[in-house]
């Protein structure tokens, strides 16, 4: 059909892109994780010391677990917010559907940083929320743990990633043929059974995709902990950033990155299997 030259020209740019900007950096990162730094100089000596440090130092392991806990919380809370929202829009919003959909999407246009600073002003000691609590005499002094805590990180990330969870679920719900819902009612299923036996199983691919988005994106986030996390809200990406920056220990940073990459890839692999299992086309 097409000549070999044509095929080569067409496929070259994406291949080069993937090669230079994806495979090469990954290879470099992988190699770095087996090298070392001596007297402030990177030496190309192959060893497993970085991985040993990583696994034996409780700080790194602790932060890694905290990161996964935060990511899991964000996933859970964005599902709890995103699923009902998507369900309502898809099945019960009627003519308000379009407007509400836009309202869910609009925050995505606002810069991530702006939203981070907004949370700072809301959660801070003299912030909006504390002012409100004191004005109504619910508390008598500012509540300190609102800002610079894992709570603040989870809150901000949930706020940011809920639309990402909402979108695939909404798409999955919209693709459920309505006669299936009617058939379920027709066969005697009340709304609760219809939801559990028909709507939920058929929206599983969207739910899994949304959950994966929230978890993976939160796992690698470093701006939210930087802005609202404080020392107790530090996440693994902040450690990586400081190792590559101030600490100048690229090999250790690279080994942490490899760990995160392995977690992420394993997760993506598993969710793809799950999505396949739940798709019935």
């Amino acid at each position: 059909m097409y000549s070999r030259i044509y095929k080569a020209i067409v496929s070259a740019p994406p291949l080069l892109w993937v090669g230079f900007f994806l495979l090469l950096p990954y290879a470099l990162m992988f190699a770095h994780s087996f090298w070392a730094v001596r007297d402030g100089v990177l030496v190309h000596e192959w060893n497993l010391q970085n991985y040993h440090t990583l696994l034996s130092n409780p700080v790194y392991v602790g932060v890694l677990f905290r990161t996964m806990r935060i990511a899991a919380s964000v996933m859970l809370f964005s599902l709890l917010l995103g699923y009902p929202l998507a369900y309502y829009l898809s099945f019960h919003a009627g003519p308000r559907k379009e407007l509400l959909y836009q309202l869910v999407i609009v925050p995505l246009w606002v810069s991530y940083l702006v939203r981070g600073y907004a949370w700072k002003t809301i959660l801070g000691s003299d912030g909006v929320l504390n002012g409100f609590l004191q004005y109504f005499h619910i508390t008598h002094e500012p509540v300190g743990y609102l800002l610079y805590s894992p709570f603040a990180v989870v809150l901000m990330l949930t706020h940011i990633y809920t639309p990402f969870v909402f979108l695939p679920i909404y798409a999955a719900l919209e693709h459920i043929p309505r006669p299936l819902v009617e058939a379920s009612q027709d066969l005697g299923a009340n709304p609760r059974s219809t939801f559990l036996l028909v709507i939920l199983p058929l929206s599983m691919p969207g739910l899994v995709a949304g959950a994966t988005f929230a978890f993976v994106l939160s796992l690698g986030d470093f701006l939210a902990p930087l802005l609202v996390g404080g020392p107790s809200g530090t996440m693994i990406a902040n450690i990586v950033q400081s190792l590559f920056g101030a600490a100048y220990d690229w090999p250790l940073g690279a080994s942490i990155s490899v760990c995160i990459l392995i977690i992420t890839v394993t997760l993506l692999f598993m969710t793809e299997r799950l999505e396949k299992r739940w798709s019935f086309k």
């Binding site: 058939a183 005697g188 036996l197």
Partner: protein, 359 residues
């Protein structure tokens, strides 16, 4: 279709009173009036067909009975009890959907068992009844298959089994055969009719295909623009159409427009004795009621007419002729296959076959 269907047989409700009563039901979607005050009774065990063009409101009426839509006015009763105020899952009505609406994530067995499962039927009973329902539609070998692996006809059978297993008082069928190819369709028509006789459940069948309606129904309710045009048995509606629309929609016909004056109908060149009031009149004359004059003895009230054959369409066992009777009056005539014809011929029809219809 098989043994074991006996337990599906409906306990006969009190004879005489209709199973379903539709009373002055109207439905409006915004400014659009889809149904205009429909009243209709369906007897227990009856096979009634809602026939109409697309947009005539037949599916809307079905959805009102199933409970997917609420009537704007009027009420629906089943076995004497108010039906239209119940949610769909509390009605003893089941539906076979146009595109079957089988659950894609469940296999055949779970699809068929769905209705029993959501009503918390004991597991032991579900198994037996699923087997029974599947054998009734001859689908016992496919219990583990996903619907997407089945052909259209097979999905159709599963949809039927899934509905009938609930032993509904009334089964609604929304153009269930429209997605099948012609041969399979004919076969399924036969099976559907046999199945209905066997289980004795009342069928309310929606179709736009008048031949299908004629072949299956005990009675046909013809809908036009959201109103009932005529409700009658297939033979009745064909032999005695009440309106010009009915006459044209059910089978083929010649509509003769003219007038009645002093007991004589005058339509173009044709004249015949007719009773009824004087004035403008429309008559329906079926093509097969106009044989060639040469064939057999003419009836006593025979009306003779001469015409030039303009076109002849061969249809296997019969021929359809277009005959010009003069003054551009064209009659369609169906006669037994007889070989090519041309030129002028004499035809004859009985005045009793010219049915006066409303416009």
């Amino acid at each position: 279709m098989s043994a074991g269907a006996f337990s599906l047989r409906q306990a006969s409700t009190g004879a005489g009173s209709p199973l379903l009563e539709v009373r002055g039901v109207a439905k409006r979607f915004g400014a659009r009036e889809v149904l205009k005050s429909i009243s209709l009774d369906i007897a227990a065990g009856e096979f009634l067909t809602l026939l109409g063009e697309s947009g005539s409101g037949k599916t809307t009426l079905l959805r009102l009975i199933a409970g997917f839509e609420q009537p704007t006015a009027g009420e629906i009763r089943m076995a004497g009890e108010r039906l239209d105020t119940l949610p769909p899952y509390k009605r003893r009505v089941n539906t076979v959907f146009q595109h079957y609406a089988l659950f894609p994530h469940l296999n055949v067995r779970d699809n068929v068992a769905y209705g029993l499962r959501v009503k918390n039927t004991p597991k032991a009973e579900i198994g037996g009844r699923v087997d029974e329902a599947l054998s009734m539609v001859k689908m016992t070998e496919y219990t583990g298959a996903r619907p997407s692996k089945l052909s259209g006809g097979q999905q159709q059978r599963i949809a039927l089994a899934r509905a009938l297993i609930n032993r509904p008082q009334l089964l609604l069928l929304d153009e269930p055969l429209s997605a099948l190819d012609a041969n399979l369709r004919k076969q399924m028509q036969g099976e559907l009719k046999a199945l209905q006789r066997e289980v004795g459940i009342t069928f309310l069948f929606v179709t736009h295909d008048q031949e299908e309606a004629m072949a299956l129904s005990d009675r046909i309710a013809l809908l036009r623009d959201g109103a009932l045009e005529q409700v009658a048995s297939p033979r009745d509606i064909y032999a005695h159409p009440a309106t010009a629309y009915t006459a044209q929609f059910i089978g083929q016909t010649n509509l003769l427009r003219g007038e009645v004056r002093g007991g004589v109908a005058i339509c173009g060149a044709l004249r015949w004795p007719a009773s009824g009031s004087d004035g403008a009149a429309v008559f329906s004359l079926r093509p097969e009621a106009i044989p060639l004059a040469a064939d057999g003895a003419a009836p006593p009230d025979a009306v003779r007419l001469c015409g030039v054959i303009q076109q002849q369409i061969y249809g296997g066992s019969s021929e359809l002729l277009e005959v010009d009777c003069g003054n551009n009056q064209i009659l369609r005539v169906r006669i037994p296959a007889c070989g090519p014809l041309s030129g002028q011929h004499e035809f004859v029809f009985s005045a009793a076959d010219a049915i006066r219809v409303r416009e």
